[in-house]
C-alpha cells in the first residue's frame, strides 16, 4: 500500500459507538486504515455503513470511542478541543455535499473564511483567496453570492474554501451527490487535478461508482469494517 510515499494517515483499531437513549449503536468496529501521502482514496458503502463517521474521525470532527487516529504523525484523538480546532484549521480542508457556504457572504468572502483564523493581513488573505478561486476557475464569480451561483459553481467555491489554507488532507463528503452528471464530472476533474498536479491527499466518500473510478484506490465500508471489494 505504501508504494514509497510517506504514510499520512494511520487509523488503528478504531471503534465508534453512538448512544441513542439506552441503545448503543456500533458504527465502526476495530477499523484499521492507512493512507499514504498523495493518495486519492474513495470510500464507498451503503447508507449507514459509517463512511461519514470515518471521514469525521479523519478530519478531527469527532473522536473514536476506542483506538487511535494519527495524521501526519500526530495523534489527533488525544488533542484537546481547542488544539483540535487549530489542527483542523491548519491541516484539513472539508468539502461538503451541500456546499455549506455562508449565504450572507460572497464567494470571495466565503473562500477567505478559513484564513480569518490565521494571522495573515487582509491583503494577503484576499490574494490567497483569489488564488484558490483561480485554481477552481471561479475568479469571475468572486463577488457573487451563493444564491447567484449554480450547484457546480457553489461546489467549486466549497473546494476553493477547502484548499485556501493549503491543507495536508482534503476530505470530501459526497462532493457530487447534489450535482447533475456534467457538473459532477467537472468537480471530479478538479479533485483529480488537485491530486495529480498538486499532490493533495484526498479522501472522498461517495455512493457513485463513476465518481469512485476517479480515485487511485477504492475501499468499501460494510457494517463498520473496510474491504477492498464490495460485499456480495
Amino acid at each position: 500500500m505504501n508504494d514509497g510515499r510517506g504514510l499520512l494517515v494511520r487509523v488503528n483499531s478504531v471503534d465508534k459507538v453512538f448512544h441513542r437513549g439506552s441503545e448503543e449503536i456500533h458504527v465502526l468496529g476495530g477499523l484499521d486504515l492507512e493512507i499514504p501521502e498523495g493518495e486519492f482514496l474513495a470510500l464507498m458503502g451503503p447508507s449507514g455503513s459509517g463512511k461519514s463517521t470515518l471521514l469525521n474521525l479523519l478530519g478531527g470532527l469527532d473522536r473514536p470511542s476506542q483506538g487511535s487516529v494519527e495524521v501526519g504523525g500526530q495523534r489527533i484523538d488525544r488533542l484537546s478541543d481547542r488544539r483540535l480546532a487549530a489542527w483542523r484549521a491548519r491541516h484539513v480542508g472539508l468539502v461538503f455535499q451541500f456546499y455549506n457556504l455562508m449565504p450572507v457572504l460572497n464567494t470571495l468572502q466565503n473562500v477567505e473564511l478559513p484564513l480569518l483564523l490565521t494571522r495573515l493581513s487582509r491583503t494577503r488573505r484576499r490574494e490567497q483567496a483569489l488564488l484558490a478561486l483561480d485554481i477552481v476557475g471561479l475568479s469571475h464569480r468572486q463577488h457573487h453570492f451563493p444564491r447567484q451561483l449554480s450547484g457546480g459553481e457553489q461546489q467549486r467555491a466549497g473546494i476553493a474554501r477547502a484548499i485556501v489554507t493549503d491543507p495536508t488532507l482534503l476530505l470530501c463528503d459526497e462532493p457530487t451527490g447534489d450535482l447533475d452528471r456534467k457538473s459532477g464530472d467537472e468537480i471530479l476533474d478538479l479533485l483529480q487535478a488537485l491530486n495529480r498536479e498538486q499532490g493533495k491527499t484526498i479522501v472522498m466518500v461517495t455512493h457513485d461508482l463513476h465518481a469512485a473510478a476517479r480515485a487511485t484506490r477504492t475501499l468499501y465500508l460494510t457494517k463498520g469494517t473496510l474491504t477492498r471489494e464490495p460485499e456480495a
Partner: protein
C-alpha cells in the same frame, strides 16, 4: 475587526426581523434617556442644593407666611452665618402656561447666599441700583426672547398692588447663568423693597427663609435651634436642609425615581425577551453553518464570541442610536413648558445607558451563544 463583516452579515440575513428588533431596542433606549432627564429634572434641586443651607418655613405649610423680623433673630442663633427671605409671587407672563418662578429678594443677600448664580458686575450693579429691576435666568430669558432693558409685565392674582392693579412691571437689568449644569437658571428675581412698598397686603410677611450655616455637619442641631427659637409663637417654623426641602417638594408628585425605575425595568424586560428571541432564532436557523465554522477550525469559544458579537452589535446599534436620539430630544428642551426647569440628559445616566447596552447584549445572547458553543460538529452537520 476582521470578524465584523461576518457578524454584520449574519444580522442582515433576516433584514426585517433585525430592523424590528433594532427599533424595539432603540425605542427602549429613547425612553430610558428621556425618563432619565425627567428624573434628573425632579432631583436637580437636590443634587445642587447647598449642604450649608437650611430652608425655614412655617411649621404648618409653606403657603403660610412668616414675619420678616425672624431674619434678624435667626442670625443671632449660634451656627447661623446669615439668612435671607423669599416669597412666592406666582404671577404669569402673557399666559398661564408660561410658568416660571418669580421671587422678590434683597439683591445683596441673594448674591451672598447663592454664589452659583453667575451675574456680570454690570448687571449686578444695575440690579442694586434699579428699584423696579429684575434679573432672569438665562433659560427663561432665551425662552421668551428677553433682552436686558426689556420691560416685563407680570399679571398676578394673589399680590395686587396698592393702586388696585393686577399687573406688575419690571425692568430686566440682568441675566444670570448657572455655575453648574443642574443649577436652576429659570428663575426671575426682583427687588423685595419694590414688592414691599407696592403690595396691597401682607406687609412685613415673607414666604420662607434660606439660612446659611457655618458647619454643614451641625445642620440638624442648628435647624433644631431655629425651630426652638420660634416654638410656641403664633408662627412656628420648620427648618430643614435645602436638599431635604427640595426632595420633599419633588416627593409631593410621588417617588419619581421609583416610578422611573419601574417603567424602565418593565421596558427592558420586554426588550430582553424580544432581543433574546431574535438571537435564539438566529442561532437555531443556521445550526449547520455554525457547525461548518467549527469544522473549518473555529473554536468553541470563537463561535460563542461570534454569537455574542451579533448580540452586542444588535444592542449596540439599537441602543446607541436610541441614546443619541434621546439626547437630541432632550436637547430640544423641557417638554412641559417650564415645569421642569433643569432638563438635560445627565452624563451619569448616559454611562448607565452604555452599561445597559452591554448587559442587554449579554443577557440576550448568552443562551444562544452557549448553545452554539456546545454544538457537536458531526451531529450538527447531519441536520
Amino acid at each position: 475587526m476582521k470578524y465584523l463583516g461576518l457578524v454584520w452579515g449574519n444580522l442582515k440575513r433576516r433584514k426585517l426581523r433585525t430592523l424590528l428588533t433594532l427599533l424595539s431596542v432603540l425605542v427602549a433606549f429613547v425612553l430610558f434617556g428621556y425618563l432619565a432627564a425627567i428624573r434628573q429634572a425632579f432631583s436637580a434641586g437636590v443634587d445642587v442644593a447647598g449642604a450649608d443651607r437650611l430652608i425655614v418655613r412655617h411649621k404648618v405649610s409653606i403657603i403660610q407666611f412668616l414675619p420678616e423680623t425672624y431674619e434678624a433673630r435667626m442670625e443671632q442663633i449660634p451656627g447661623v452665618a446669615n439668612a435671607m427671605h423669599m416669597t412666592w409671587f406666582g404671577g404669569e407672563y402673557q399666559k398661564p402656561t408660561n410658568f416660571f418662578a418669580q421671587i422678590p429678594v434683597v439683591p445683596e443677600e441673594l448674591f451672598d447666599m447663592y454664589p452659583e448664580y453667575l451675574l456680570s458686575d454690570a448687571h449686578r450693579a444695575a440690579f442694586l441700583a434699579t428699584r423696579t429691576g429684575a434679573i432672569a435666568g438665562r433659560r427663561t430669558a432665551e425662552r421668551f426672547g428677553w433682552q436686558v432693558g426689556d420691560r416685563i409685565p407680570i399679571k398676578v392674582v394673589a399680590w395686587r398692588r396698592k393702586d388696585g392693579a393686577g399687573f406688575w412691571e419690571f425692568d430686566l437689568v440682568g441675566i444670570y447663568d448657572g455655575a453648574e449644569k443642574g443649577t436652576d437658571d429659570t428663575q426671575f428675581f426682583f427687588r423685595h423693597d419694590y414688592f414691599e412698598e407696592a403690595r396691597a397686603w401682607g406687609s412685613g410677611l415673607v414666604g420662607w427663609y434660606v439660612v446659611r450655616i457655618d458647619d454643614p455637619a451641625r445642620a440638624a442641631e442648628v435647624a433644631a435651634a431655629i425651630d426652638a427659637e420660634f416654638a410656641n409663637s403664633p408662627r412656628e417654623t420648620k427648618a430643614e436642609p435645602e436638599g431635604a426641602f427640595v426632595q420633599g417638594f419633588a416627593n409631593q408628585v410621588g417617588d419619581i425615581g421609583l416610578i422611573m425605575t419601574a417603567i424602565v425595568a418593565a421596558v427592558f424586560f420586554t426588550i430582553l425577551l424580544v432581543a433574546g428571541n431574535t438571537m435564539a432564532y438566529a442561532v437555531r436557523e443556521r445550526t449547520s453553518e455554525l457547525a461548518m465554522l467549527k469544522a473549518i477550525g473555529f473554536t468553541d469559544r470563537g463561535v460563542l464570541g461570534l454569537v455574542l458579537g451579533e448580540s452586542l452589535l444588535l444592542a449596540g446599534v439599537g441602543g446607541g442610536l436610541g441614546l443619541v436620539l434621546a439626547w437630541v430630544l432632550v436637547s430640544t428642551g423641557d417638554p412641559t413648558g417650564g415645569s421642569l426647569p433643569v432638563f438635560f440628559f445627565p452624563a451619569r445616566d448616559l454611562a448607565i445607558g452604555i452599561l445597559l447596552i452591554a448587559v442587554l447584549a449579554l443577557a440576550a445572547g448568552i443562551l444562544p451563544a452557549l448553545q452554539a458553543q456546545r454544538l457537536q460538529i458531526a451531529d450538527a452537520l447531519r441536520r
